[in-house]
């Protein structure tokens, strides 16, 4: 109840896109364009070992031979990959030893975004409130990771990808690209060649990570792509909850964001991965600018009884092309996908999931809530498949679409493949229009039109919001409201 009110107040106090500021920091750029030399430059900048450079150059070669995928229901002019920067870092110190060495402008940016970067601020919070370890990625570089010491005591490794390559090469070599192969798809392959940074997590056997881990990604520099690489390994019987948040300033040009996230879950382990994505969606009238969010996320339940849960709140980006997937390899492993995708203005989203049942008695659950407003297009695309060995596989899918106004579109494209006779797949789908009767009813009780829309939409997405960690659920609820501002009237 209070959250709804907060939402209302929040909306009133905000501009259309509140994260649309640019921080003026001296940037260290690689020259524009993409070539083997740029790949070498990136690798050298990061002091990478030779095997990593080879990995990148190999990926670059393969990428050259690939074509951009065209099957998604999104439309955009061809991207000139030579007209972008592939490396942008805050100048000088690439690996700050402590917070004091981080550029105060960057810290100010994160403060504006409301990220509890400074541990003392976190600690000064409400007594008993959960604490979050944060890895902050600014353009391409991880600037600071908090709570490292406390996590290390529990045996948890949480650091930037660059650091993991240097400090934990055996883990990186073993798991990198083991879920998303280098040439899996066009954007993932590009990422393998030029990825800049990202987060690395390893949770040892039997350890329950003592706090939520989170990463905040911020694109700041102009014309720069952002290519994060995230790798999370939950060893046998461990548990970790991870959250990523994303923002970018308003720019007239489109910026490319092509991240890859790989999750590996061994026997009896569990990863809960939540995303609150609020990249700049572009100008709502002209569609100018905004982020192209072409992301590959995949989890591999490699062990028996492994469990993974993807929860995403996608409100930003001009174009979203994203299908967080679960490979259910281990027997009795479980995959879940909870999604809220909101499009407004000229946004286009083609998002969903793949549940690939390989092991016996594997289970999956998909709850997708798509909301379209303005002149946007919102597509759910999902695959549920059971292979011959996946006897006893079960899936439940629920896809609901809500239309606001008369000029938006919603599409649902479910693919279902059962290659054995002993699986049970259920699919439910609804499409509803935010009804004027409901709006009037709420307004007659005293809610303004804007408040009425928020209340009804919050009701629509409730099933998914409750899957998010508590604090983020409140944040996400606000985001939902902001994204739909001005969508009725």
């Amino acid at each position: 109840m209070a959250a709804v009110k907060q939402t209302v107040e929040h909306v009133e106090s905000l501009e259309k896109y509140k994260h649309g500021f640019v921080t003026d920091i001296e940037q260290d750029f690689a020259p524009k364009g993409l070539s083997p030399d740029i790949v070498r430059f990136i690798s050298a900048k990061k002091n990478e070992p030779a095997w990593m450079l080879e990995y990148r150059l190999d990926a670059y070669e393969r990428w050259l031979a690939m074509d951009e995928p065209e099957w998604a229901k999104v439309y955009f002019p061809r991207i000139d990959y030579q007209d972008s920067y592939y490396y942008a870092a805050p100048k000088e110190k690439v690996g700050p030893a402590s917070l004091d060495e981080v550029d105060p402008d960057i810290l100010a940016t994160y403060a504006k975004l409301g990220i509890p970067l400074r541990e003392q601020e976190v600690l000064a919070g409400v007594k008993g409130a959960p604490r979050y370890a944060v890895d902050a990625v600014f353009d391409s570089v991880s600037v600071v990771t908090t709570f490292k010491k406390e996590l290390a005591e529990a045996g948890v490794i949480f650091c930037s990808m660059s650091e993991a390559i240097r400090e934990h090469p055996e883990l990186v070599k073993k798991y990198l690209s083991s879920v998303v192969p280098v040439s899996d798809n066009y954007y993932a392959c590009l990422n393998a060649a030029v990825f800049s940074d990202g987060s690395f997590v390893y949770v040892p056997p039997g350890v329950r990570c003592p706090m939520e881990l989170s990463t905040y990604f911020r694109i700041n520099a102009e014309n720069s792509g952002q290519f994060e690489r995230t790798l999370i390994i939950a060893d046998k019987g461990s548990y970790v909850s991870y959250l990523e948040g994303c923002t970018a300033p308003m720019r007239d040009e489109n910026q490319l964001h092509a991240a890859v996230v790989e999750l590996i879950i061994l026997d009896d382990a569990e990863i809960k991965y939540s995303t609150v994505q609020n990249w700049y969606p572009g100008d709502p009238e002209t569609g100018k600018g905004g982020i192209y969010n072409f992301v590959t996320k995949r989890a591999d339940c490699r062990g028996d009884r492994a469990k993974v849960s993807w929860t995403q709140v996608e409100t930003g980006s001009a174009i979203t092309w994203k299908y967080p997937s679960c490979i259910l390899r281990g027997e009795s492993s479980v995959g879940e996908f909870y999604s809220i995708a909101i499009t407004n203005g000229r946004q286009q989203a083609d998002t969903g999931t793949k549940m690939i049942h390989l092991g016996a008695n594997t289970r999956s659950r998909i709850i997708s809530k798509g909301i379209s407003a303005g002149r946007s297009s919102n597509t759910y695309r999902g695959l549920v498949s059971a292979h011959p060995k996946a006897k006893g596989a079960r899936n439940f899918t629920q896809c609901d679409s809500l239309l606001i106004g008369k000029t938006c579109a919603a599409h649902t494209v479910p693919y279902v493949e059962a290659r054995n006779g002993q699986c049970v797949f259920e699919h439910e789908a609804t499409t509803t229009k935010l009804s004027e009767d409901q709006l009037f009813y709420a307004m007659q009780r005293g809610l303004s039109q804007e408040e009425a829309v928020q209340l009804l939409v919050n009701g629509f997405v409730k099933d998914v919001l409750q899957e998010l960690p508590m604090e983020f659920a409140v944040e996400a609820q606000k985001l939902v409201a902001i994204s739909l501002e001005g969508s009725v009237g």
Partner: protein, 248 residues
């Protein structure tokens, strides 16, 4: 309290109200009766500001303040409440959340402080008990899967919680069995006060046995065709609306 003068209203260019004049002073309960299609529901929507109902002529004021230029939520904040003939289902929003959000929105519009959580719950529990509503039901999504009778009771519950000054009951008796009707009528009667006024819209006389009106008006062809005391309702029950239909 409410004063309507020469009100003309139309939907999609079709005239529905054709010069309706009506005064409901504070402290009184007035019944509006009439044949189907006479404009009874249109009157309730015009008074609450629903989109699509165009007022082409006339005025409607509450305590001297023009209602017609206000948004639906502004009218609600000034104390206008409509108990819907067909209450809407609000999926995913618990009844308590809905009412508290509405209550605070109204308070904010009036420049009052929000109700505290303990005060709200105390009020909700007491109100639910008086209307024989199971408190657990208030934690469910508003009206979703509720029976017709439960929905009507929820309307009266919301009315009691929001404590409006001017109440419009649109066919509140439809779909109610006799027990539910008594509970609803008790709830409405409990709200009668010298500071409030009510407009009870109904097709049948039955409801008026339980909610006794001070005045009864017959609405036919967009105008008040006849006004009288409670006995007029009984007369209509016996003779029907035929003579008004002919007059039109």
């Amino acid at each position: 309290m409410l004063s309507i003068s020469n009100l003309h209203a139309e939907i999609d260019g079709k005239a529905i109200l054709k010069g309706l004049t009506l005064d409901v002073p504070a402290g009184e309960v007035h019944a509006i009766m009439g044949p189907n299609g006479a404009g009874k529901s249109t009157l309730s929507y015009v008074l609450t500001g629903r989109q699509g109902y165009e007022v082409s002529e006339g005025t409607a004021t509450l305590d001297g303040e023009d209602l017609l230029s206000l948004d639906p939520s502004e009218r609600a904040a000034r104390g206008v409440f409509l108990s819907f003939q067909y209450p809407l289902e609000i999926p995913g929003v618990p009844a308590l959340t809905f009412i508290r959000t509405a209550m605070n929105a109204q308070r904010k519009a009036r420049g009052e402080a929000e109700i505290t959580a303990p005060a709200f719950l105390k009020l909700a529990r007491a109100t639910a008990a008086s209307l024989k509503i199971d408190f657990e039901m208030l934690k469910r999504a508003l009206n979703v899967g509720f029976s017709g009778g439960e929905k009507k009771r929820m309307e009266i519950f919301q009315m009691a919680m929001l404590s409006p000054r001017f109440l419009i009951l649109d066919e509140t008796d439809s779909g109610l069995d006799i027990d539910a009707l008594k509970i609803v009528a008790d709830g409405v009667n409990a709200m009668r006060s010298p500071e409030r006024a009510m407009l009870v819209i109904t097709h049948y006389q039955r409801l008026l046995d339980y909610i006794k009106p001070d005045r009864v008006h017959v609405l036919a062809d967009g105008r008040i065709a006849e006004s009288g005391g409670p006995e007029l309702a009984h007369e209509l029950e016996r003779e029907g609306y035929d003579k008004y239909a002919r007059a039109a």
